[in-house]
């Protein structure tokens, strides 16, 4: 029986001091360098097999890596190994009590992604740090020692993963991994450029966003703004289109889970100056590498630019990120992560400043990671959150002050069995200012007050899953239990989920997923501080299933073909069922509906960071809703959604890329129905015209010195200036230009 493979990618670094060739003289005994920090290299997308790269490192007297070279080329592994190794930090070699430069050899072993994670990293965030001991024993022995370092992993539930390095080359994404989500199969945009989308027929309000396991209300700044997290902090973004692992609960649609980069103790950073904003990120270590500290953020000066053309209007956004970690022992780590986002649009009339749109959210997450022996990790964390929004047309704020705690345990029982489990509790104090100036008879006001009452929401959950390897069959059964309470109402969600991956051939895998997901009623789009209260109408429920095949193709291409079907029960999909969303619809309605979505997804890709890389994603789907006895197409049913991108190296550090996006128009509401008792909707309605856009990107990069580079980037979304028609109205063209300098050290 073969050794089991796990859903998570494992990079195993066998730190082997094969020889210590000293640059110092032989007067005194040489103490070899001791590895303090290391960034986990990612297993390259599209590559296959287990590969070991021998890297020759020169460690300076200050502990920094002066040079790194592979003993022999084996791309893309050798490049990744040397690149990662350059960022590692050591205590310098010592001779006679003085630090000296030294040369050492390391073996960096890449192991092909496993379908399930190893026990040491069984949870996305929990394991990131706990399973990657950044500061091994300070007295690293000269004898060869094997050190485990966690890298990219792939779940049997088959998320679509986007690494920051790759997304940086995707035109129209502006370097933001989150911005690339709408290019993935299964994702149906509402409007081009706006960060709200349907995922396999599930509405935007049913998609959960997590950053390092921390729930956030949204990922993007106002309008078509950038992401709320500096892209340099994002290691990878996973999109679970359905049947997400049991650790992700309380969302009945897709899951977007971002993982932050692991802490690094060497001083490094990056920054960018663009047409509309400036951003930067810096991290360094302290306490001899036991601790790390990171700060980052972005600030827009759109208000300054806008004031030149519309002095009465202000538009601004900003965000910050901070992280401090400290290794209490070689098995314990304490980490504080905090980030926040702020957006505002205002206008001054009659000398009075009006906030037209405003929202913000902040998170502070204190986590404790502990290794319990060789095969078990534990994370305990407490998260404080504060979300607030200005309610449109109502001069008052609505806010959610939350406190959450979670514990996650991962245990590798054997090579064939890994157990994962956890529990969490979240309390959300939902409040809104009393509306000082309001017509009490206004149906909008009444509906708003009924839909968003002041109350305390407490959600308690527990989950467990197992990763089984039975020969060529990898199976991940899971179960989560959630108890929802809101304003005195209670509901229970029991969500069984299972994922299966069968390697029918060396290069071909068959993947199945099936799961049940529950969610409290959700607002039409995620808005900080606005959550429907009292479990009105009960929980939403989705049965999510998919079956697909993925294959490794020649020329480093990978491809997948997946069929999916989602069955929606009791959904609060206001957007999808609105009869005439542009007019008679009201944001504060919450009509319940049944529905289904089925489709076929095609995904063909070659790594965008390759000399010539690209991808093609296509989704053919049909999304239906039923309200009462009426069955109709979802308001944003788009049968065809296709994205294609290409990125190529022009030589001399020039790189160019283009992306083409096209999708079907949305169904047209029957004409003349505004204000009327609506006529039955057709299952084969006329549609708005199809929309397409072309995005371009070109970059010139200068490598300045070790790990330092500068790049000039010109990028534009929708260079074709194509206008989109939505619900019979022409919009735009929504085009976003970006010219800027980016750099890192």
């Amino acid at each position: 029986m073969k050794l089991p493979r796990f859903a998570w990618y494992l990079v195993r670094v066998a730190l082997l001091l094969l020889a210590t060739t000293t640059l110092a003289r032989a007067d005194g005994e040489l103490t070899p360098p001791v590895l303090l920090t290391r960034a986990a290299p990612l297993y390259p997308a599209g590559a296959h097999g287990d590969v070991t790269i021998v890297v020759l490192l020169t460690v300076g007297a200050d502990g920094d890596v002066v040079d790194a070279a592979a003993s022999e080329p084996h791309e893309p592994f050798s490049g990744l190994a040397t690149s990662a190794a350059r960022s590692w930090r050591f205590t310098p070699a010592m001779r006679g009590g003085k630090p000296v430069a030294a040369r050492i050899r390391l073996e960096v072993a890449f192991r092909e992604p496993e379908p399930e994670p190893p026990p040491a990293s069984a949870d996305a965030g929990a394991a990131t740090d706990a399973g990657a001991p950044r500061t091994p024993d300070a007295s690293l022995p000269e004898a060869p020692e094997e050190v485990h370092v966690r890298g990219e992993r792939k779940e049997a539930s088959n998320p679509l993963s986007l690494s920051r390095a790759e997304v940086r080359q995707l035109p129209g994404a502006f370097g933001d991994p989150f911005r690339a989500i709408d290019a993935l199969p299964g994702v149906t945009p509402i409007v081009s450029g706006l960060p709200f989308f349907y995922v396999r027929g599930a509405p935007p309000g049913n998609t959960g966003y997590f950053i390092d396991q921390i729930r956030v209300p949204y990922l993007f700044h106002v309008g078509a703004g950038p992401s709320v997290i500096h892209p340099g902090l994002v290691e990878r973004v996973d999109l679970y289109q359905g049947s997400a692992p049991a650790r992700y609960g309380r969302y009945a649609g897709g899951i977007v889970a971002a993982e932050m980069v692991a802490p690094r103790a060497d001083l490094h950073g990056e920054g960018n100056v663009r047409l509309f904003d400036v951003g930067a990120l810096a991290e360094t270590g302290f306490a001899n590498g036991k601790g790390t500290a990171l700060i980052g953020g972005r600030y827009s000066y759109t208000a300054l630019i806008l004031s030149l053309v519309a002095p009465d209007t202000t538009l601004g956004y900003r965000d910050y990120q901070a992280r401090v970690s400290y290794d209490l022992t070689d098995k314990d780590r304490l980490t504080l992560v905090s980030f926040g986002s702020y957006d505002i649009v205002g206008q001054t009339t009659n000398g009075i400043y009006n906030v037209l749109f405003g929202s913000e959210f902040y998170r502070a997450d204190l986590r404790y990671d502990r290794k319990l022996g060789k095969d078990t990790t534990l994370r305990a964390a407490v998260t404080f959150g504060y979300d607030q929004s200005r309610i449109p047309d109502q001069p008052r704020n609505s806010r959610d002050t939350s406190l959450a705690a979670r514990v996650i345990l991962n245990h590798r029982q054997s090579a064939a069995l890994t157990l994962r489990g956890g529990a969490d509790i979240t309390g959300d104090d939902q409040r809104a200012d009393i509306r000082p100036y309001a017509d009490p008879e206004d149906p909008d006001t009444k509906r708003f007050n009924a839909l968003f009452p002041q109350r305390l929401d407490v959600n308690t959950g527990a989950w467990v899953d197992a990763v089984l390897k039975l020969g060529i069959w990898e199976l991940t059964p899971g179960l989560r239990f959630d108890l929802y309470t809101s304003g005195g109402a209670t509901a229970v969600g029991i969500d069984p989920r299972i994922a299966s991956r069968i390697a029918v051939h060396k290069h071909v895998r068959v993947v199945h997923t099936l799961g049940l997901a529950h969610q409290p009623p959700s607002f039409l789009i995620p808005v900080p501080g606005l959550a429907i209260g009292n479990l009105q109408g009960g929980l939403q429920e989705t049965i999510q299933s998919s079956a697909g095949v993925e294959a490794d193709l020649p020329l480093d291409f990978t491809g997948s073909l997946t069929a999916f079907e989602n069955i929606f029960n009791n959904m609060s999909d206001t957007l999808g069922v609105s009869q005439s969303p542009g007019n008679d619809a009201n944001s504060f309605r919450e009509p319940r509906s049944q529905g289904s979505a089925m489709g076929l997804e095609v995904y063909l890709r070659r790594k965008l960071t390759s000399r010539i890389g690209g991808y093609l994603s296509y989704t053919f789907s049909r999304s239906l809703r039923t309200v009462g006895n009426e069955r109709f197409l979802s308001a944003f049913d788009r049968p065809h959604v296709a994205n294609a991108a290409i990125s190529f190296d022009l030589g001399r550090n020039w790189r160019a890329g283009a992306r083409f996006t096209i999708y079907s128009g949305a169904p047209i509401t029957p004409p003349g129905s505004r204000g009327l008792i609506p006529p039955p909707r057709s299952l084969d309605p006329e549609r708005d015209p199809a929309f397409y856009r072309i995005d371009l990107r070109i970059e010139k990069k200068w490598n300045l010195r070790k790990n330092a580079w500068l790049a000039f980037v010109v990028e534009m979304m929708n260079v074709s200036l194509h206008k989109e028609t939505l619900l019979g109205r022409e919009i735009g063209p929504v085009s976003i230009p970006s010219i800027g300098l980016e750099g890192a050290l």
């Binding site: 009659n350 502070a364 204000g675």
Partner: protein, 320 residues
């Protein structure tokens, strides 16, 4: 470098803690707004009837109207909008509330007569059956599909002859730029409301159903006439219908009074061809004249001000 490594963690700790608890979104610290309560009430003639210049005594049995969407133009600082709608039976003398707006500044007030929305509140003597009927799709020569925005029924009596009428109007009509009527048109009033902080104001919209029987859109020159309407009852059943009025040439009115079409819109043309958003309507019949030209004359802001109207007829070939 060493000092940096000491400073940065301290700064980050402060940022992490501070950022988590500091909320930036400003509170609402604007000065208190004025409140403006919009009401509707019937004109005396709508309530008690009126006599025409050609000797008819006209009384209304019921005037049912979908009314709402009250809002203010951008020159006011709006604090709170309440652009919902209601259904009014204009058989009651007392003003009935439409909605209350909160704002500061000088601006234009807007409102609409239209098919009631699903949220429409019911005024006095209006029930759910009325709402359902008004929201049920129907058609007429001017709109291929639409509900009922205005329903007018009544009787005309003259010398022992009695004619009943029951007209339904389906278009949505938006009103704005209300001002003093000058030569049948609207003087550019600039701002129809002036709202200062803390004030409590009321703006009544008077509904003049009798305007459906004018022989001109110029209220200062026109007369109320019913003979042409009575003459439209060609089948002699005593009930005047819109279809019958469409068969009656507009000359029946032009011959009797100062008929013109130049008063309602800057887009109007003097040769009785009226440009409306989405279509051009040629006023050829009494029915055309009443449906397209007279119906928008019913509302009067603050009982006197005439408003510019925009009749929404969605299809260019509708009715022809």
């Amino acid at each position: 470098m060493h000092s940096l490594r000491t400073l940065v963690p301290v700064a980050l700790l402060a940022a992490a803690a501070g950022g988590a608890v500091y909320a930036c979104l400003p509170a609402d610290d604007r000065p208190p707004p004025a409140s403006l309560t919009v009401t509707v009430s019937p004109s005396p003639k709508t309530l008690g009837g009126f006599d025409t210049s050609d000797g008819w005594s006209v009384r209304f049995d019921r005037v049912l109207m979908g009314f709402g969407g009250a809002s203010l133009s951008d020159t006011c600082t709006a604090y709170s909008e309440a652009n919902y709608d209601r259904i009014f039976d204009l058989g009651s003398d007392a003003p009935q509330k439409v909605s209350t707006l909160y704002a500061i500044g000088e601006c234009d007030m807007r409102f609409r007569v239209g098919v009631p929305s699903s949220d429409a509140l019911l005024g006095e003597r209006v029930d759910d059956a009325d709402k359902t009927r008004m929201r049920t799709p129907g058609s007429d020569p001017y709109l291929p599909i639409g509900g009922i925005s205005l329903e007018v029924s009544g009787t005309g009596k003259k010398a022992g002859v009695q004619k009943t009428f029951h007209f339904t109007f389906r278009p949505r009509v938006r009103f704005d730029r209300c001002g003093i009527e000058v030569d049948g048109g609207v003087a550019d009033a600039g701002s129809s409301v002036s709202l200062k902080s803390g004030e409590v104001q009321q703006a009544n919209v008077r509904i003049e159903a009798e305007s459906l029987f004018r022989d001109s859109t110029n209220a200062n020159l026109s007369h109320f006439r019913f003979d042409p309407f009575a003459a439209a009852d060609t089948n002699g059943d005593g009930e005047i219908t819109l279809d019958e009025l469409r068969l009656l040439p507009v000359s029946a009115l032009t011959d009797a009074g100062p008929f013109d079409t130049t008063l309602n819109s800057s887009e109007d043309t003097p040769d009785a061809t009226v440009d409306r958003p989405g279509r051009t309507v040629r006023i050829e019949s009494v029915g055309d004249f009443m449906y397209i030209m007279l119906m928008p004359l019913l509302p009067r802001l603050r009982d006197t001000l005439r408003c510019r109207s925009s009749v929404q007829l969605p299809r260019a070939d509708a009715g022809r």
